[in-house]
Amino acid sequence: MEICHAAGMKRPSAWSDPVFRWLCLGCAALCGLLMVGFFVQLAIASGDAWRTFGLGFFSSAEWDPVAERFGALPAIVGTLLTTAIALVIALPLAFVSALFIVDAPPWLSRLLGQAVDLLAAIPSIIYGMWGLFVLTPIMQRIMASFGIETNGFGLLTSALILTLMILPYICAVMRDVLRMTPPMLREAAFGIGCTRWETARDILMRYGIRGLLGGVFIGLGRALGETMAVLFVAGNVMRVPHALTDGCTTIAATLANNFAEADGLQRSALFALGLILLVMAFLIQLLAQYYLRMTGAKRGER
């Protein structure tokens, strides 16, 4: 019995390595195939829309389900604007918060760090509900104090919700990156008389640029594809916004709003929007890679 058992233990090692290898290869290949599959599926399903509207789909601001005329411009503009505004507000806030958390006394650092992690774990629907019940009335009041009559829904409110959602993500990644800077470098910087800000700017930021940018792109990715929270506060208006208080929509919110009941050409147009979102996310990844490679030499990397 004991011998049998021992023999049985030995045998797996003979075949487990190749099996494990194939298993890993299979899983890795599956990821790649899934990605390709998404593109192919979206391209096929959106075929009708591309045939009907051609490249005019990008520039048309019309979304008229009764007349079956569809254009992607409002959704694309809404997505880019909300994401851009959110990033512009969140980025500096996240960086300085991360700096503070890294340099704070240990007990405060731990406390704040955990608060940031908790914020990152809040489901987006909660942000959406908070936005609808708390943020929109506040926006209404703030705007009214500037003499602007608005209903509180729209571009700025969506961007603010997105800011709150991506802030903890970016901050958490940046914090971890800043912590990884070798203490020697910082001490050397302090040693030659750098101020805290100079150390942060010239040592921490330079050293961790890859990781910091990684944090930015995680935030960017989340903001681009965020659906529920934006849906609640965007106003869901299929028009290109002209002011910060105008109602708007994003690609993800448009899909969520219309998919259940759409068929025919509208369904195809929605698939086309999905494809555009996927390509946008893909392009941003490419740009990030390209930027890092181009600036690698400047930072003293090979």
């Binding site: 019309e62 979304w63 008229d64 389900p65 009764v66 007349a67 609808l132 019940f133 929109t136 009335p137 209404q140 009559e149 209903n151 509180g152 829904f153 729209g154 849906l231 609640f232 106003g235 869901n236 208006v237 299929m238 109602g247 929509t249 919110a253 709003n257 219309n258 259940a260 009941e261 759409a262 068929d263 509208q266």
Partner: protein, 315 residues
């Protein structure tokens, strides 16, 4: 030695699994048919009560209904993934014929404009059809507009901007409402038209009935529309509209002008036992279910219309 307890454990686990998997003693419940339906969300509050009451009263089949939207319901019945579908915008007879479907009306429900006007109580504001259309067209932009004031001499109208709230998703409620506006306003018909999802000339969109109600409740000066039950639940002010004779009525009146009929779709090639169960269920809905519908502020079909459906489709 160690293997023995493990084996016993495994055996015990298997045995208990076998017990759990075997059909329970009650033979009848094992054979009980399940009818799955999906579709329109407009009548879903009633369908939910009906399916629960019918299933728990043990009258025959178990019935489920998922309110996924009319369009999705139609797609699902065509794909044979459900046994019946609910839709607010009826298929044409040709479409039914082509897809091998039987369609019959089951229920009526009111769609009501809701407003958030500080200082004006529910069912006080009168709007005529032209005004209603112009509000939703974005042509009347202030609540103290001369036309609204002329129609409501006794009311102190607030100096507020009109904020239109419509559905952002496509919905049977929107179809009923835009269909009404198209029928009473030529301007609306040419500029927008009727549909489950239209190109709204103005306003913001709320997700589903609760989304519209929330937005109207949050925005002073808002006007929206919703299925009547939701307006009552959210305690939102409804308005008075002219009935067919031109006298102003409230939303709970029998003569309320914006009524939508919702329909059931069944496949012709449903297997006979299932078809019998479906017919039994819908007969029950007409006969016993009407009370539930009235309690939820929907209108059952008129007796002769129900009798006609029972006599033809459900016989």
């Amino acid at each position: 030695m160690r293997t023995i307890p493990l084996k016993t454990l495994a055996a015990a686990a298997l045995a208990s699994l076998a017990v759990a998997c075997s059909p329970s003693g009650d033979g009848a419940s094992a054979e009980r048919l399940t009818l799955n339906g999906a579709g329109a969300s407009f009548p879903a509050p009633v369908y939910n009560v009906w399916t629960y009451a019918y299933t728990s009263a043990n009258l025959g089949a178990k019935v489920n209904y998922q309110s996924v939207g009319s369009g999705a319901g139609i797609n699902q019945i065509k794909a044979k993934t459900v046994d019946f579908a609910g839709t607010d915008s009826p298929l044409t007879p040709a479409e039914c014929e082509e897809a091998g479907l039987i369609q019959f009306p089951i229920l009526r429900g009111a769609v009501v404009p809701i407003v958030n006007l500080p200082g004006i109580a529910a069912d006080r504001l009168k709007l005529d059809n032209a005004l209603l259309a112009d509000l939703f067209l974005g042509r009347v932009t202030r609540w103290n507009d001369a036309r609204i004031a002329a129609l409501n001499p006794g009311l102190k109208l607030p100096d507020l901007a009109v904020s239109v709230v419509h559905r952002s998703d496509s919905s049977g409620t929107s179809f009923v409402f835009t269909d009404y506006l198209s029928s009473v306003s030529a301007d609306w018909k040419t500029a927008v038209g009727a549909g489950a999802n239209v190109k709204w000339p103005t306003g913001i969109g709320g997700q589903k009935n609760p989304g519209v109600c929330n937005a109207v409740a949050k925005i002073a000066g808002a006007i929206g529309y919703t299925e009547y039950t939701y307006a009552l639940e959210a305690k939102l002010s409804t308005v008075l509209l002219p009935d067919a004779q031109g006298s102003f009525v409230a939303a709970d009146a029998a003569a309320w002008p914006i009524l939508g009929t919702t329909y059931i779709l069944v496949r012709k090639d449903t297997e006979p036992t299932k078809m019998d169960a479906l017919k039994a269920y819908f007969r029950w809905c007409y006969e016993q279910g009407a009370g539930h519908a009235v309690r939820l502020h929907y209108a059952p079909l008129a007796a002769e219309e129900a009798a006609r459906v029972i006599g033809s489709v459900l016989k």
